[in-house]
Symmetry: C2
Subunit: 196 residues, 2 copies
């Protein structure tokens, strides 16, 4: 297999695809030999394209967008538009990079390091700053952030990863119209008495 | 590896674990040799425990509960309690079988057949019957079902698969208190004018 001739962009992409699978299965203990074997290329190609196994791991798990940049404009939105702006930012960012981001979600369901990283991207860098800006009470930020993130994660899973209709094919504006009231309630509405 | 001695329950479980991974990666074209190799057991053990590769596939993808049984009592609930009853049924069923069901979700994110099956379990057998019972307008059932399923799927992903706090450790009643208003809105509340 390692004798096949491939163009550089194909080899690089095949290494990324193979590494995503192997890291998800076995974590950072996966060897360059395993990854190269799965990709059907010479292990030396990993050093060539990514410098090291660590460089390949960072390439696999880095996002094409920074969630903090994506939600930055939401922080300036009027309070009553916060959920619409947040969902629009989420859908715009995801629609532009859905295949890479969906691969990250698939990997995160199988690997604790990647799950923690996905939590950090979604909760720490995107959702919590927005919730912190609009929550009526600082003591409620963690609860509200988890609720917003649960609806956002379900939308992502249904629309992009599992391709459930009508969510998979709906226009972003349709999604925003239908889901923003939920997210706005989680952001700024009353919480049950048991809320922390 | 195939020379190791193992107890029958260990071998059976290792075959199930290996098959879940291999089927998710390669679909039903995966061979018994690959699955047995990943489990480190003799391929003949597949015939012994599961009859055939098809039997093993069914064992891997069958749920320990029928979602239709789980939601049957919800159909008799008062309209205003429908969401609370549906979420309680979902959490009760999932809490009792979370490791198997989380494995099914992980596999479904990687394999189209399993994704379609998960869609069928959640949407066709659990959510749509409940929505059909309580939706004010039959023309809105598909939209309402997708919205309910997106929040339910996000809750499952956050609580069970990614283990996000505070959802991962919260009491079922806390989750119901916080998320039932959303689900009740999707079931029986007004939809935006663009709704089908």
């Amino acid at each position: 297999m390692s004798g096949r001739r491939k163009g550089p962009s194909t080899t690089r992409q095949e290494l990324l695809d193979a590494a995503r699978e192997v890291f998800a299965d076995r974590g950072e203990t996966a060897t360059t030999r395993e990854i190269a074997g799965k990709a059907g290329v010479d292990p030396a190609m990993i050093a060539h394209y990514f410098g090291s196994k660590g460089g390949l791991f960072r390439a696999v798990t880095s996002l094409p967008i920074d969630p903090a940049d994506l939600v930055a404009p939401v922080l300036d939105a009027p309070r009553e538009d916060a959920a619409r702006e947040l969902l629009t930012a989420l859908l715009t960012g995801w629609d532009a990079h859905s295949s890479v981001l969906s691969a990250v979600v698939r990997s995160a369901t199988r690997n604790k390091t990647l799950a923690a990283q996905m939590r950090s991207f979604i909760l720490d860098r995107a959702v919590r700053p927005v919730v912190g800006r609009f929550s009526p009470d600082p003591a409620e930020v963690e609860t509200r952030a988890a609720l917003v993130a649960s609806q956002a994660a379900g939308l992502i899973l249904a629309r992009y990863v599992l391709a459930w209709e009508p969510l998979a094919s709906a226009e972003p504006s349709w999604i925003v119209d239908h889901i923003a009231p939920t997210v706005q309630g989680y952001l700024t509405g009353p919480l049950p008495a048991s809320a922390g």
